[in-house]
Amino acid sequence: MSSTTTAGTATPKRQFDLGAILLEGRAFIALIALIIIFSLISDAYLTLPNLITMTRHVAMNAILAIGMLFVILKGGIDLSVGSTVGLSGVVAGVLLQGLRIDSLNVVLYPAVWVVVLCSLVVGSLVGLINGILVTRFNVAPFIATLGMLYIARGAALLISNGSTYPRLQGEQTLGNTGFNLIGGGRLLGIPMAIWIMIVFAVIALIVLRTTPFGRWVYATGGNERAADLSGVPTRRVKMSVYVISGFCAATAGLIISSELTAAAPQTGESFELNAIAAVVIGGAALTGGRGNVRGVLLGAFVIGFLSDGLVIVGVSTFWQVTIKGAVIILAVMLDQAQQKITRNKNAALASSSKVPPTDSTPTGSSATHEPETDVTTPVGRS
């Protein structure tokens, strides 16, 4: 269902079915319910400053999750994003602290935009390596990105020698100030991190819905062989989604190190799991081909607002993680229920000889007489 709404042409009108609507809008309903419950318990929850703070937290995960969405839509997974967050921060840190070139006996202080560019390139490179491993060497995405999880983390630790780069705000005399604005700055009273999330979401939405590349991602994830035979450049698509994910991870890494004006090589540990959780709560299928940006944002908000809410109302951290786990499992269970309903509906349609009464297009009536149906499609068989 979600694929038709994401990249769809006309969606057929549906009969009014409250259960189905509740099930489909469950992530949104869950988010509203969370807000209501927490605002009843704590007066501090539903205030503008708090909402902005929480959304800033959400933004970090949402940016990672948007990248992750591309990979999961393709039918892969990217476990390396957390490490890439750390690595890109460290790259920014080392450049802002000054790049010492001993042979020339100089210290280079690149401008902030160069620093940002370098970090993004490094993040994209991690993605590119993932992509090459998956497409050229046929390493399973789980394994390839698991390996890169360690390698990128190791690289971050090696570059920084395990220590944190402090004071990244730069110095006026060196001409490298302004880095702290990426995560700390505000535009119209709203933190930059939130703006970046919005920009990324809009771009992802446009790419997935209105470009051939977006359609190709869905097609490759849905059935790679069929996409391949239809002329879809599946290799390039697969390669690209990992680069996108690496780029998003690097962006998140920049935001975090800018916000803290410090870059630690340990930053981003287990972030990949939060990103995957957001994508999954948003209704994407880990098998590929199904999911959308709206769902991912909702998923990220549910996780973020839940975690922060639990902190605000004073629930112990031990309970926080437990509840988060339960929410993820519940989300997937509900998703399975919805999938089952959809599958049954399609199977019933496929094995019925009638065109469904919801038909509103002229195309449905063009074939009139043949009593022709099929129960041999996989979904029709149980």
Binding site: A10, P212, N223, L349, T361, S366
Partner: protein
Amino acid sequence: MTPEVIAGAGTHDNVVMRAVGITKTYGATRALKGVDFEIRRGTVTVLFGENGAGKSTLMKILSGVELPTSGTLELDGESLHLRNTVEAVDKGIAIIHQELSLAPNLSIQDNIFMGRERARGGLFIDTRTQSALTTELLERLEEPLDPRTLVADLRLGQQQVVEIARALAGEARVLIMDEPTSALSGSEVEVLFGVIRDLTSRGVAIVYISHHLEEALELADHAVVFRDGSLVARGDRHEIDINWVISNMVGRNSEDLNPDLLDTFGEPVLEIDGVSVADPSNSSRLSVDHLDLTVRAGEIVCLYGLMGAGRTELLEAVAGRLPIRTGDVRLKGSSVKGLDVRQRITRGLALVPEDRQRDGLVQTMSVGQNMSLASLLDFVKGGFLRRGPEKRSIEDGVRDVRVKTAGPGASITSLSGGNQQKVVIGKVLMTNPDVLLLDEPTRGIDVGAKAEIFALMAREARRGLGVLFATSEIGEALGAANRIIVMSKGRIVREFDPRTAHRDDVMVASGESQQDQEEKAAQR
């Protein structure tokens, strides 16, 4: 040996299982409308009917997969309530599904005893007993394999035998076979038929479903025909022939199913020149061996041959899916060598693949998205897809190939097999090809939809396309093509004009066994 003599079929005393007044509704859809059906000891009952006519639904009810909405089942004259397949197997009712349900990573014996392992002390699998029983079963089925062989290492036909052995391991009295031959070669089908005859001589009742009408007629002791959820006709062996089946299935004669073909053609559009293709699973062997073939504009050429003759490999190599080892393929005079699938599609060469589910459709996408997938770049302006033109083209395409759907936004899985195949063909036609390649375009779809697909092919040929299609059904080769090319072991062995060709000659040329064609001849 004829089953009638042994089992005395035709007398009601021999009824093993009976279904009375079975109805089944799914939501507002009535899949079965009060069907009465009998299965008799030691006979083969063949079910005919288009997809969705109710055959498979009835079989699911008989085998405990589904419960009837109303109506009763009887076994040996006693009322029977099946709640699940395990109960059905316990009562001796087994079903072999269309798609094999074996675990390829396990051995033959592990598969046969899957779910009912013989265990010592309820803990440890008794490998020796399982092995001995498996050997015994396989010998009975004339397929003496080592029970420890991995299923993945077996040929498809052998896997089918294992599937049957598994059904027999539960001491089946009623064995339901749903399209068991769709994956088998001619000689493997022969073995299967031998097994079926052996089973009936032991008193097992067989219910057999196949889209391959001639093949099913060869087996039938009784036949019943389903249409729109009702049982519309029944007959004994001597009363039925292929026209009886088809006219009852679709309410018209089989002659109407053949399309109008052109008899004058234009310039050569596809030239296959000394093409060799390596076997994808064993690159030291050639699947296609220095093959020459020319298809002209407006011409429909049929590649007829057995499974493994190299038809699929040839078509996939021409389409750019498999690499060409030697020779050249020219499209309208210019070589397509070195071009990938997409570039060949752009040049006007498109393939409708053999396996619709695996290679043809993206199941997670809508009807419309599947239709436009291969021609997506035609709708791009400034890097973005233009929804309006795309939607209009999709709607035109849906109308053009007559897909029966609720709309372009409907899920592809909500379509029947025949309509799904029309979507795949529509997708290919939207790329404006000059040459249309189709690999077994009618596999697993019913007679009515088959006729529509052949009519589509004929229409496209009249529009000036060259059409090359592969089939293993002799009726299709004779009825739907201008020229029949018989392939065997990667080479062209003979060429026929379908207007003058004798079906036996075509089959002999393809290498179908002598016995095979004698039986088919006797059947007519």
